[in-house]
Structures are given as C-alpha cells and as structure tokens.
C-alpha cells in the first residue's frame, strides 16, 4: 500500500500564481531561530516568501503555484530541528484578532484626540487666570469639540455597543455608566460652549475613553495570545488519518479534510482521530480517553469508535460517521447542553459591582441637582453641577479595576503553563474550595510506563526494549521507550496478537503475552500486586520475566494533593474506571474520598449535590465522559492531552506532564481576586473623596482631569502587583 501526505487542505491561493500556507512551529524562541528558519526556507527554489512571526510562533510561506509540495517545507524544518505542522485559523481566533485590531484602532484615535484636546485645554486652563479673551476661549472650546466629538463617536463604540446590548437584555454592566457619563459630559460641554461658559469637559471625556481602551486592549491582547498558543498546540498534535483514496491506496490527510462516509485505516498503536464504526477487522481498543476505563475493549465489525481511542492489536477499517450518530456521544452532548445553560447564569464581579454602583451614582447626581435648586441655584447651574458629579464619578478607575488585574494574572498563569478559555474563569477559580479529579489521564499520565523496571536485571531489560522496537503494540512501545532503545534486533519477527521473537547468539528471545513466553505462572503474582497493569512477558531461553506496564501517576501528583490539602481544599476522585484501579490511585495519593465506575450523569449528580451544600467545585478532567461535568462545575480545568470536547468545555487548560499548574492557577486566581477587590475599594475610596468636591460645585475641568488620571494610574499600578512571584506551590 502506498502512503502519501496530503496537505492541500491547508494551501490557499494568494494572488496570481502564488500559493500560501501557514505553519505552526515548535521551539522558535529567539532571533537566531527566526533567521535560521527564514534563510533555510528561502533557499528552496521558487519560494517567494518565508516570514516567521515570533509572537505567534508561526511561519507564513508563499511559493509559485504548482512547483512545490508543502510536505517539503515540513521536512526542511525538521532538518533544521523544528517540528512544524500546517495551521488553520480557527474562527474563534479570527474573531479575537479582528476585535484586537479594532480596539487598537479605537485606542489610536482616542489617544491622538486626547493629546490634541489637551494641547488646546492647557492654554484655556492657564488663560483663565491670566489674560485670555472670552472669544479666544470659545474658539478653543469649539476646536476641542471638533476633535473630541467625532473621536468619541468612533472610539466609544466598544462601550456604547456593550452598554446597548446590556440594556436591551434589561441588565446593566460597567459600560452603561461609562456610556452615560461620556455622552452627558460631551453634551453638556457643547451646551456650555454655545453659552460662552467658562468650563467645558471635552478633555475629561476623551481621556476617560483613552484610559478605558488601554485596559480593554490589554485584556483582549492577552486573550488573543492565549488563543494563538492553543491553536498552535492543536495544530502541532498533527491529527491525521489514513484515508482510502483508492481500493488499495491510502493518503495521510489532516482530520479537517475527512468527511462522513470516508473510510480510514487504523493501524495498531494509532490513536483514532475521527468518530465512526468498524467495517472490517478485529482488534482491542483502549477507550480510556473516552470513558476513563483502562481495560481494553474488543472491537469487531459494527463497533462504534470514538475519536481519541487507541488501537492496540489489529488493523481496522473504520467508516467515518456524522456527528452525534453514536449513542454515547449523543448522551454526552445532551448532558453538556443542559450543563452549559446552567453555567451562563454566573454574574461577573464587574457586573455585580456596576449593578450596585450605577444606581448610587445616578441617584447622587439627581439629589445634587434637586439640592441645589432647593438651595436657590438656577436650574442651569444645578444641572451643570449634577453632570459634574457624573463626570467625576464616571467609573474610570472602576472600569480598569478588573481588566487590568485579569491581564496581568492571565500573563502569570500563561507562564505557569495554564491557558484561560473564558474571561471570568479567574474569579470563579479563586472561589473554588473543593476539587474533583478524574483519575485516568488527569491524575495519571496518558502514556504508559513500566513500573517494575527496578526488579529486572538491566541487561535483560535492555534486550527486551530492543526487541520491543519491532512491535507496533502500544505496550511494547512503552517498554522500548522506558529502556530508551534505539537499535532494533534485525531478525525479529512479529506474530500477530501474540508478540515478537528473535534469535540472538543461539538463544530465543520472546516478548509478548505471558502464554506466548510460557510465563503464565508469574502473572498471578503480578496482578495481585497491581491489578490495573497490563502484563507483558519476556523470555530469554529458559529465563522468564514479567514487565508490568501501566499509566503512571503524574510525577508531582502526590505533592500537589498535599498542597491542595494545605490550602484547606476538599479533594475527591470521580472516575469511570474500575474500583481496584481507583482504590490504588486514591491510596497512593492519600485521597480519602473516591467513587469508581461513575457515569457522566452520576458525575453531574455528585457535583449538584456538592453545590447544594454550598461548595464551589473545581472539576479537573480530561475524558470525553468528563465534558458534561466540566461544564456543570463552578469552574473546570483540563490537561492539554484531553479529548477535544473536554478541552473546549474547560475554563482553563494546563500544559505539560506535571499537575502543579492546578495549584499555581488557584494561587494566582486567589491573589488576582484579592487585587480586584482591592482595586474596586480604591476606586470607591477615590469617589468618596471626589464626590463632595463635585457636589459643592467647584469641580473645574482641571480637577476632573487630574483626579481621573490619578485614580486610573493608581489602579493600574496596584494591578501590576499580581505579577510578583507567588509563594512556592508545594
């Protein structure tokens, strides 16, 4: 059978006779890499563009149409020492990029307008105490209006839109008081300018927008960056399938290019990348990523196969099915939809704050107006003072209090290997006081390891590893990896479903099922000791050995559990796996509460029960069976190796082998929430000081501008404290 790699799905036309592809590249981190890659790729004839984006860790390539095969670029990059894979922009990331650009454009407009309005305002402020003629002052005010009004109309769009959305949903958010404040300040300034009054607040209004846009843009940029990294990680997983393009011809194509009805080949040791059902062949499959069950399942004709299943022994032909055709998937999707609906009711800290804040401020302004009228002021003066109250309380600092902390905190989490999927995840994570762990793939690592390597003589172990290289079986692959074997035994022959054997120096070596090696007698012992392990036997002549292979616990799992306990967080295991396997893990980690053989619906039921008791649950899971409970929990986390559905549902995704990011994320979230609250108090404290000044009617534009920038800078500086190194995790 002939295998070709087909990347045509990712190639797009870029102008006349030029084709374009984007590659995600792993390991690009400095100027040296950038130059090396660009020169290395430009050296290929007919390449017209090779440009590295160091921020997003991607390469854009263009070449003359029809001259080159994209697979060649990937090979070339591999020669240079970089792993690369074509990258397809997800729609979520494309929106983030567009949003980020729009905010930057708004910020640019607002910043330039602020500078120019300030240039006009400062002469007015100083002219008021010297010799500026009223006509000149009016002229400067009109010029300010000319700049500020169109700029505010453009740069204020993000706030006006969000405020309108909130109001039409009959709720309020922080953007409502911001929009009201800006509009009133501008409107009153126009009226005052027409009336030749001394004060106009164009500068304050446009400066407010600028400060708030800085906060918005930083927040958005962090989110965009996280999306880019997540997109790269997804691309570098290089999920492909061997698709039949002819009766006997297969092509290795990206998963995105596979459609329902296609037939794919699944060889031993491969992870299935599509959902479908078996049409030919028999094998054992490992569905631990789907159900959490580590025991292999036998697959024959008609057996449904889910993306993420690992094929163990035989070769299968799988017909790809449309989504949710499979019963398990349909059930999980239904549970997931219900859980997601419930979750959307969470109200963010910022919205809760503004719900309290907006009525108080608006009432204060109204009382000020009425108070002045009663005290004998004219209506016009009273309204001007009332609006001054609104301007000075306009939640500039309040609007920055949360996004700035969020930006800095997500930056620190990013460094600790945690990606944020949702904006309010930090607040919810900080409240978590009970953690539910899934076992398979979460507390344990998704790959297999040999647990009793120390009991076996090292020369025997090495020989077993070399022999294992000749087998496709995942357990054999784990043995080979544990040994670090690189030179296969050339004469080795594989017997399907049994094992491999070879003759070395006149002695027969066998590796495989215990019965294949004549080592059944040793098995009973090993399984009693470790019921979860897969047993593989090795024989050299008459010597027999048993290797026990299993998914190992994450290296720092024990320390992380201890650290969580030290933080007074409740811990339990909810696993879909069998009881003995769960007990073993619970004992090893010192977790008293566990439940085994749990279905997705049971997991949700347990979470609901904890919720009723008032616990805020953090669910950490990776399997497809965890997806509904990830959505049902107060906040959720997944390892990067998780099933697609779970990863998309989880609020946070952590990278790498250690479990430590879970604790690191909780720590920085708690710290961030503390700072957010502190910022809100700072903003309120500023208002308490400023409002009496405003009510007394002596707020000049100069005071408004100084107070506004002073409080904003204070809040931003306080947010930067989220950056400082958090205490040691364990």
């Amino acid at each position: 059978m002939q295998v070709t790699r087909d990347f045509s799905h990712y190639v797009r036309a870029a102008g006349a006779g030029v084709q374009h592809i984007d590659l995600a590249v792993e390991g690009v981190h400095c100027a040296g890499c950038m130059a090396k890659i660009e020169r290395g790729l430009s050296a290929i004839p007919d390449v017209t563009l090779a440009r590295v984006n160091l921020t997003d860790k991607r390469v854009a390539l263009e070449w003359k149409e029809g001259t080159l095969d994209p697979a060649r670029f990937i090979d070339r990059l591999e020669e240079l020492g970089y792993k690369a894979y074509p990258y397809e922009t997800q729609s979520a990331e494309a929106t983030e990029v567009a949003e980020s650009r729009f905010l930057l454009r708004c910020l640019g407009v607002a910043a330039f307008a602020t500078m120019n309005v300030m240039m006009l305002s400062i002469p007015v402020w100083s002219g008021n105490v010297s010799d500026m003629l009223p006509e000149q002052r009016d002229f400067f005010h009109w010029l300010s209006a000319l700049i500020a009004l169109p700029a505010a109309a453009y740069a204020g769009q993000p706030f006006f839109r969000a405020a309108w959305r909130a109001l039409s949903n009959k709720t309020t958010n922080m953007d409502v008081p911001i929009s009201i404040g800006v509009c009133l300040a501008l409107g009153m300034s126009v009226v005052e300018t027409i009336n030749h009054a001394e004060h106009a607040y164009f500068d304050a209004a446009i400066m407010l927008l600028t400060f708030l846009l800085v906060g918005r843009f930083l927040d958005q940029n962090m989110r965009r960056r996280t999306r880019a990294v997540a997109g790269n990680l997804a691309a570098l997983k290089a999920e492909t399938a061997a698709k039949f393009v002819g009766p006997d011809e297969i092509s290795q194509v990206p998963v995105a290019a596979i459609h329902p009805g296609d037939i794919v080949l699944l060889r031993p040791g491969e992870r299935c990348a599509v959902d479908g059902s078996v049409i030919e062949g028999r094998s054992e499959i490992d569905q631990s990523l789907i159900t959490g069950e580590t025991l292999y399942v036998t697959a024959g004709q008609g057996t449904p196969i889910y993306a993420g299943s690992m094929n163990i022994s035989g070769t299968l032909r799988v017909r790809v099915s449309a989504d949710s055709e499979a019963t398990l998937l349909a059930e999980i999707t239904r549970l997931l939809d219900n859980a997601l609906q419930a979750r959307s009711r969470y109200m963010r800290l910022a919205d809760r704050a503004s719900r309290l804040y907006a009525p108080v401020v608006h009432a204060t302004a109204l009382i000020t107006i009425l108070g002045w009228v009663i005290a004998g002021a004219t209506w016009r003066d009273a309204v001007v003072t009332g609006i001054a109250v609104l301007i000075i309380t306009c939640p500039c600092a309040l609007g920055l209090a949360i996004p700035t902390v969020q930006t800095v905190a997500s930056g620190t989490m990013f460094k600790a290997g945690v990606l944020l999927n949702s904006g309010d995840a930090i607040e919810r994570l900080a409240e978590a006081d009970h953690v539910i762990f899934d076992k398979t793939g979460t507390l344990t690592l998704p790959d297999l390891e040999v647990t009793n390597a120390d009991d076996i003589p090292s020369d025997v172990f090495e020989l077993a590893g070399r022999l294992a290289l000749s087998s496709h079986h995942p357990v054999a692959a784990a043995v080979a990896q544990a040994v670090g074997a690189t030179s296969p035994i050339l004469s080795a022959a594989e017997e399907a479903g049994q094992g491999v054997r070879a003759m070395v120096d006149g002695v027969e070596l066998r590796l495989g099922r215990p019965s294949f090696c004549g080592a059944e007698a040793l098995v009973a012992d090993a399984t009693r000791f470790d019921p979860e392990a897969s047993i593989v036997a090795f024989s050299r002549g008459e010597e027999k050995f048993i290797l026990s292979v299993r998914q190992g616990l994450r290296p720092d799992a024990q320390a992380v559990i201890a650290a969580l306990k030290a933080r007074n967080i409740g811990i339990e295991i909810l696993s879909g796996d069998r009881e003995p396997a769960v007990i073993a893990a619970a004992h090893a980690l010192g977790i008293a509460e566990w439940r085994a053989g749990v279905t997705p619906a049971d997991k949700i039921a347990r979470i609901e029960e904890l919720k009723r008791r008032g616990a805020k649950v953090l669910m950490v899971g990776d399997g497809m069976n965890d997806a509904p409970s990830l959505a049902a929990a107060h906040v959720s986390m997944s390892p990067i190796s998780a099933a697609h559905l779970s990863q998309a549902t989880a609020d946070l995704v952590f990278l790498g082998r250690p479990l430590a990011p879970v604790v690191a994320a909780i720590d920085s979230a708690r710290k961030a929430l503390h700072l957010m609250r502190q910022n809100l108090w700072l903003a309120i404290g500023y208002n308490v000081l400023a409002v009496p000044v405003a009510i007394s009617g002596v707020v000049t534009p100069l005071i408004a501008a100084a107070a506004m920038s002073g409080s904003s800078i204070l809040v931003m500086l306080n947010s930067l404290r989220a950056r400082s190194a958090s205490r040691e995790i364990v």
């Binding site: 997003d56 640019g108 700049i147």
Partner: protein
C-alpha cells in the same frame, strides 16, 4: 493673536498626520509580531557567506 490662523490648522494637520500614520502602520500589519520586530532591527541583513545556511543548502543541491 493672528498667529493662531496658521498655528491652529498646523497643529491639527500634524495631529491628523500622526493619526493617519498610526492607522497605516496598523493596516500594514506592523503590530502583528512585536516580539519578532524587536529582533529584526538588530539582525544582520547580509550574513557572511560561509555562515549562510541558504548558500550551503544551494551548494548541496
């Protein structure tokens, strides 16, 4: 104060030019890769021939 007749339009023009330059730089993708751009500024334009992998790759072929 007649000087305002020149200075005010001049100031607005300069401000407008700055904004136009910013919008142009944004549209031409100059903010897409801030990390890379920082390094590109100090990278050698023409590497010495004996070190250039591009040249070696061509020679091998």
């Amino acid at each position: 104060m007649e000087i305002l007749v020149y200075l005010v339009p001049l100031a607005l023009l300069l401000g407008g030019a700055g904004l136009a330059a910013f919008l142009w730089s944004l549209r031409s993708g100059q903010y897409d890769d801030l990390d890379g751009a920082a390094w590109r500024a100090i990278a050698d334009d023409d590497p010495p021939p004996q070190e250039a992998p591009a040249e070696m790759a061509k020679a091998r072929r």
